[in-house]
């Protein structure tokens, strides 16, 4: 039994870590702008495409990886400046539509550049190797991801709690207008948020796509949505919540993927039920349940609406 479940659990933890890195971007932006950045999943995908093209250009890997991260952060910065900043005083629906427009644009740009073909993701020495863990075969990235995720989260939480820019971020997410009156440069704080979020999505992208052979323009949409669900599950605006939510969703999703095999091997069912179809749907079912039962998520703060 354990031998059947363990590989799924392992890849669940790995995927969870990758979702966590994306979810942080969602939760930070939502905390400050009250905006679901629908384009975030596509930024994650673009990071994958940038990686493909940079490594094909023949540059050494130690140069490629930092460049991918910097370019991804830059893309996040540019998107905010071009598509969200002009709409700062507009109704929330307009900003959300703009985010959907950006997502559409990024996907079409990548479609144009790649010609709509699956691009082989480069192998990265050190994390692409296959290793055996307690009798289960997996890639090194599975072990690296959770550790790296936790290290980055600790760094980020320190940044938010101890530094000046972190304090500014906390202030802006509490009260947008008042913090502006207190002399906080709103625009640079928001930019910093987008840069950090995109940077982490870049890291997530390198880890995520190492597990999959190829990247295509639509491969960011689903992980993006799931990471958003993770952020809502954990309580939007809360970083530890987003990370916890992402791990839970990653693990559950992979267990469901293997549920047919697990049930079959333990003798509960005699024929496969095709339950793996529901591995994506499950995430959304979880979202709806959490929204109905506890709309603020696991660690979310309760907000009251004023007229």
């Amino acid at each position: 039994m354990w031998n059947t479940v363990f590989p799924y659990l392992l890849s669940g933890i790995s995927v969870g870590g990758q979702y966590a890195l994306i979810a942080i971007g969602y939760t930070m932006v939502y905390g400050i702008l009250r905006l679901i950045n629908f384009a975030h999943g596509d930024v994650f995908m673009v990071a994958g495409i940038v990686m493909v093209y940079l490594s094909a250009s023949g540059l050494p890997l130690w140069l490629v990886i930092p460049m991918v991260l910097i370019i991804t952060a830059l893309i996040g910065f540019v998107i905010e400046r071009v598509a969200y900043k002009p709409l700062r005083s507009a109704p929330r629906m307009s900003v959300m539509i703009s985010a959907i427009g950006v997502s559409y644009t990024l996907q079409n740009l990548v479609l144009y550049v790649t010609g709509g073909l699956n691009k082989m993701y480069p192998t990265i020495p050190g994390i692409s190797e296959t290793v055996m863990v307690m009798g289960a075969k997996t890639k090194m990235v599975t072990l690296v991801t959770p550790v790296l995720t936790l290290v980055l989260v600790v760094l980020l939480v320190t940044l938010i709690n101890k530094t000046k820019i972190g304090m500014a971020m906390r202030a802006v997410s509490k009260d947008f207008e008042t913090s502006q009156l207190m002399g906080i440069k709103i625009n640079s704080v928001i930019s910093a948020t987008f840069v950090i979020g995109s940077f982490l999505a870049g890291v997530g992208s390198i880890l995520y796509f190492t597990n999959y052979p190829t990247v295509i323009q639509t491969s960011g949409a689903m992980p993006g949505l799931k990471a958003f669900v993770a952020a809502v599950f954990g309580g939007i605006g809360s970083i530890p919540g987003a990370v916890l939510g992402a791990f839970i969703i990653g693990i559950m999703e992979n267990i469901i993927k293997g549920l047919d095999v697990i049930l079959f091997k333990s003798g509960l069912i005699s024929a496969p039920l095709g339950l793996s179809t529901f591995s994506d749907a499950f995430t959304f079912a979880l979202l709806i349940i959490i929204l109905i039962v506890k709309p603020t998520g696991l660690f979310g703060e309760k907000t009251t609406d004023k007229v």
Binding site: G101, Y112, L225
Partner: protein, 371 residues
Amino acid sequence: MTNQIKQKKVDPAVLLTALIILCVYVGVFIAEQVISPNSMLFTVLKKGATYALVAVSMNLLNGFTGIFSLGQAGFMLIGAYTYAIFTIPVEHRASVYQYFNGGVIQFTLPWFVAMILAGLVAAFFAWLIGLPVLRLKSDYLAIATLGFAEIIRAILQWNQLGPVTNGSNMLRLFPNFNSFNITNAEGKVTVYLSTFVPFLIAGICIALIVLLLHSGYGRAFKSIRDDEIAAEAMGVNLAHHKQLAFCISSFFAGVGGAMLAMYQTTVQAKSFTTAMTYEILLIVVIGGIGSVTGSVLSSFLFVACSEWWLRFLDNEQFIGDFQVPLLRNGFRLVVFSVIIMIVVLFFRRGIMGTRELPDLLRRRRKEAGIK
């Protein structure tokens, strides 16, 4: 519109609008008899009519009631599947459901019954989904409805439901738009109706939505959009009206889905993705959130640009020996995205804002009067 006609003197602008619409229908009918049926024009008109209905139904929810829902593709999917499942002729079922012994449903409904049923099933699911989801606020509602669309897509692809839905395989051989053509005994088409009938279906549905918007319910919807709390204070039952708007919008999305199935001649659940919802939302935005006329116009514009007018951007073009740079597969979509972003950022009111065709005509008349 009709209310006004009954009560007051006939508004010339409304009359003129009716005349324009009539001309469009006559024009479509004549064009279809004269021009070769393989012309790109009819592809655009058929798909445009389908998208117009779907966009107006989305506008009813997002533009007129202020509920930001992203579940459109899910309801279209339900409609398309309901239509397809009930209209595949019995003799073709064995070949369509080849992996499921011909499926469990062994009867066929007439197309218009199946189409209404498609709407009703979509509305029923909307009612179920609306119970929990409509209590949520703006962006949570958006993401929850989007999630539901994904769940529906997964359920319809589930192999265990194969005898009904054909699993993840394609549904085909059901009556499509070409079945509306009247043929003589030798199978030669005498009267072409394959574009006219979709226009008629979409027109009737959109007219019903317009009538609804001008009724007391429509005014209640708009009051919810403008200020929920004020609307509630004025005695509008929020839960009831939101649920109603959601179900009606989904009904027409379901009918639109059935039309899309007819247009495509085949349906498969995996093509009804979130991207489809986004596309329809962007059509609504380009047309103007809160304008039926705008949604209809921008649907035809959008379809014409993407299927016809901007196609040349996807092929390499030569002017003499000079190869025009950048043109290759996918460039059309890049140009498209840039146009959409410009509309979203700088022309937030879209083509029509919240105005309708009669408003436009009225303004013209006034300006002419001043001169």
